[in-house]
């Protein structure tokens, strides 16, 4: 390094040192970009929402805009707005859809895993993922026409080919209909993660339990499910959070109606913020919602997820 003639030798040594730097601090290099992105996407929107929730921010009253008003927004949201109703509806919607999607996704993954023919396996795998590809906004429009009591093909087929009379899906049972459409749309998410998780159960483990003559259900309860536990837990947790965020589908399918029968919290926030142009109150609901979801997830993570997932 000291003399110019040695540059050819010193170049590799710089490289070596760079490589050592890379290897010695590997976990830090691996984490750094993620931490940077996360700081950008959580601190700013979170802080801005908190700020909005504490100030007067009605676009209809520009004079008072930006004035600090303590907890007034929270009071407005939870007394005059339909926030309480929307929280109840959301809990019903989320628990119903989550249960359906988890059970169906697991069953489908288990059934497809056992298929012998490679070609059929590929067919099922591809077909079962496809509903996810339909954007909620398209799905809502198509659902509206397929379920329409006068021109819809599904009520038509139910009345024609079964002994039952078709209900008027969007006015008689709106919340259940929304739940079923969401199940159609998002069971693929559970299927694909469960399927990948199930496929990574080591063949040796399965072979051992087969040799022991364990019946099928025992193989699931004692071998497959315990092995898949982290994957199961994570998929359910992510789906839970996404169900709480459901917006596009319900908004374009029922707009919260009839009346307020499908007015989930995300719809309530949107309407408070953009229809009644009260961004302060909308942010207040969003903050309460966020705190509620974080609390719920923390309880789940501590009570259920701790063993097996976190070691």
């Amino acid at each position: 390094m000291s003399t110019p003639t040695q540059t050819t030798k010193s170049d590799p040594s710089v490289l070596v040192r760079l490589r050592d730097l890379w290897n010695d601090y590997l976990p830090y290099w691996f984490m750094a970009p993620m931490v940077l992105v996360m700081l950008l996407i959580t601190i700013f929107p979170g802080a801005y929402d908190l700020y909005l929730s504490l100030v007067e921010y009605k676009l209809s009253e520009p004079g008072t805009m930006g004035q600090f008003n303590g907890l007034d927004n929270f009071r407005t949201a939870f007394t005059s707005g339909g926030a309480v109703n929307s929280f109840t509806l959301t809990i019903i919607f989320v628990s119903g859809a989550l249960a359906l999607e988890t059970v169906l996704g697991f069953l489908l993954a288990a059934l497809v895993t056992g298929v012998k023919s490679e070609r059929m396996k590929t067919f099922y795998r591809v077909a079962f993922i496809l509903p996810m590809a339909v954007a909620p906004v398209s799905l809502a429009t198509i659902t509206r026409i397929m379920l329409n009591s006068e021109i819809g093909v599904i009520p038509y087929m139910i009345t024609q080919y079964t002994p039952f009379a078709a209900p008027n899906f969007l006015s008689d049972i709106p919340l259940l209909t929304v739940m079923l459409v969401d199940t159609w749309n998002w069971t693929p998410f559970m299927f694909i993660i469960f399927y990948a998780g199930m496929s990574s159960v080591p063949e040796t483990l399965l072979e051992a339990s087969r040799v022991d003559g364990a019946p099928l259900w025992r193989r699931y309860v004692h071998v497959i499910i315990p092995y898949m536990k982290p994957v199961l837990f994570v998929a359910i947790l992510i789906r839970l959070i996404d169900l709480f965020r459901t917006f596009g589908l319900v908004f374009s399918l029922t707009s919260g109606g009839p009346g307020t029968q499908t007015e989930l919290v995300s719809i309530n926030i949107f309407q408070t913020g953009f229809t009644f142009v009260d961004l302060g109150a909308a942010s207040a609901i969003a903050i309460v919602y966020l705190v509620g979801i974080i609390a719920l997830c923390n309880i789940l993570i501590i009570k259920i997820g701790f063993e097996g997932v976190w070691e």
Binding site: L26, V134, I241, A282
Partner: protein, 291 residues
């Protein structure tokens, strides 16, 4: 199935092969029922897109009809649809590559190292997905205006990363947790550096997870509407926004809507079919490594 399989039953009514065939038949029957539930609405969309406007929503349905490409021709004549389609393909693919590059290594570290306050870090990551999108989009609208990112592809790619980063990290951490640590220890004993062990041993074993997470991230970004509605205007318009515009104020043009929806499903179908092959390959490789 459990009772038929049970070894405690001394006398079996059916021979082993007959039983296996019955189980397989039952399995396929159940799977075909779900295939019908999944494929019928998709068939309905595609067939609607191939019907002339007068027949699109007639009842009883025209099960047999002469397909026409009229709706697709109409769609392609709007250059804005093609532009939006290209935009979406470019922005979504780029964002998936980036989110995997950022998320997968971080998930590995969270799975293998003693990260301080690990649980809090993971909850923090997940919290980025807990804020309702409606609440997230207002602050980003403000910041994008200030930084000149409004209506740019870079801006939208960034938004797509924010949608997917938590999912990538959480799912991949769960997968890495399932891969025995003895694997990379063996590689380290053979003289590989930590990075080489990660790249040559751990990544191949985690392939099924990486491919499913890639499919999921691609889809989440591809179907996103709210962000493109608020944060784009002209240069970075997405394909879902084009679909949305068919349901605008005017009467819905069913045929065009169906054609546009079909067109949005095609890239995902292709992506799933392509990756599906690697998914299967990744799976068998994972098993080989473990033995």
């Amino acid at each position: 199935m459990a009772t038929i399989d049970s070894p405690e039953k001394p006398e079996r009514l059916l021979s082993r092969t007959t039983r296996e065939r019955l189980v397989a038949a039952g399995r396929h029957a159940a799977l075909l029922v779900w295939s019908f539930v999944v494929l019928f609405p998709l068939y309905w969309i595609v067939s609607m897109s191939l019907k002339p406007p007068s027949e699109a929503i007639s009842l009883p349905p025209d099960w047999i009809f002469l397909p026409t490409v009229y709706n697709y021709v109409q769609l392609l004549q709007q250059s804005s649809f093609i532009t939006a389609f290209g935009n979406s393909v470019f922005m979504v693919s780029t964002s998936v590559v980036l989110v995997l590059l950022i998320g997968v290594p971080a998930a590995y570290v969270l799975s293998r190292y003693d990260v301080p306050k690990q649980r809090d870090v993971l909850v923090w990551i997940l919290s980025s997905r807990m804020l309702p999108p409606v609440a997230v989009v207002i602050p980003f609208f403000v910041i994008f205006r200030t930084l000149n990112l409004y209506d740019t592809r870079i801006g939208m790619i960034f938004m797509y990363i924010t949608i997917n980063i938590s999912v990538v990290i959480w799912v991949m951490k769960a997968f890495f947790d399932g891969i025995p640590e003895t694997l990379e220890e063996a590689a380290r004993v053979d003289g590989a550096t930590q990075f080489q062990a990660f790249r040559k041993v751990i990544l191949p074993a985690a392939k099924p997870g990486i491919f499913s997470v890639a499919i999921i991230s691609f889809i989440f970004a591809w179907i996103e509407l709210l962000f493109s509605l608020v944060l784009t205007n002209n240069n970075a318009v997405t394909v879902t926004m084009q679909v949305y515009q068919f349901i605008g104020v005017r009467q819905i043009e069913w045929g065009m809507l169906a054609a546009a929806t079909t067109a949005t499903i095609i890239p995902i179908a292709l992506f799933v079919i392509v990756v599906n092959k690697y998914l299967a390959a990744g799976l068998s490789f994972g098993v080989v490594v473990k033995e």
